[in-house]
Symmetry: C2
Subunit: 197 residues, 2 copies
Amino acid sequence: MTTGTAEAGARGAADTRTRLLDTALRLFTEHGVEGTSLQMIADALGVTKAAVYYHFKAKDEITEAVTEPALRELDAIVTEASKQRRRGAQIDHLLAGFIDLVVRHRALVALFSSDPGVARAVEKSIHGSEDFKQGLLGLLCGDNPDTAAMVTAHVALAGLAMAGGSPAMAALDDETLREALLEVGRRLLGRPRHRTA
Amino acid sequence: MTTGTAEAGARGAADTRTRLLDTALRLFTEHGVEGTSLQMIADALGVTKAAVYYHFKAKDEITEAVTEPALRELDAIVTEASKQRRRGAQIDHLLAGFIDLVVRHRALVALFSSDPGVARAVEKSIHGSEDFKQGLLGLLCGDNPDTAAMVTAHVALAGLAMAGGSPAMAALDDETLREALLEVGRRLLGRPRHRTA
DNA sequence: GTCTATACCGCGATAGAC
DNA sequence: GTCTATCGCGGTATAGAC
């Protein structure tokens, strides 16, 4: 993409796209997706609305692009966790990975949990790999998804994500939050509590 | 049904308002708040947008009005729970009341947890009684709100609410869901599990 | 007191000039 | 690649019919 004469081309194209996504994420976390207009993004970049539309055909595409990296990470975590042989190890792997993801992408997660635009984008992004949406729950529930296990899994995933993204936790550093969430998650899923990494 | 002048006057006001809120809640749960326009609400009622605007000065007021009954119930639950003398009883009371509320108002709760418009409305509605927003957490955390307790409380409230409102639980009847959530909540908050009411 | 007609402005989105 | 111009729809607002 950046070959030869394309210094300007590389900057105008890919770099503007990157700047746009950075700006969008910042504005999204400040005002929500709904509360962020394309005009605001364009102004922050010093271009017009139509220029933004050159890079993304619709606002939804921006939302999707913003959430994509985190979703790919989540997909990788689920895949890797499912490779573990013992069920306990699967859950441990998934729990640690999920929580780590939530902590590192706190701002995004907060958005994720409170914005239907983001939820829509997420659902679209995982159109191909629906395995992993159900896989997440499947790994936690085991082979026999009885009511109690299903409810527990839902409470765990939703609760850990929302608590991690909550403004009330913003003051906590990553280490502290991660350990606190891990302990709660372990208790919830019936895993023995152990090493404080 | 006849549009006689007297009957229209008697029926038009309060009843239209009620019908409007019922319709709004239905459309909100179907399409989300953002995805429901005043035009859609007006069409469903057989009136014009301006007629809707007569009953509510802004869309946010509709959202607030829709969430208000559940919030009042929650407020009552917190108040009553705080009157319990033993801390264990406070938690038990709060947990049971909260979960019962979530189960009975599932559709609203699902909306509540995934729509910034609703979240905004909720924050506005409790302007006067901010006691109870913090009171909810305060009752769960006790006097010493250390990190672990705070995180646990957040995971519990958010997780139980979102799990209860999740489409995945829609097939469960109230009794079953309530008991499943109660058991998870008790384990999470370190309460002994007991009677299946 | 309840509703209709109408207008305003900002939003997401499209078409076409440079 | 970026711009200007324009469109339709959304929430909001007012004047006035009944």
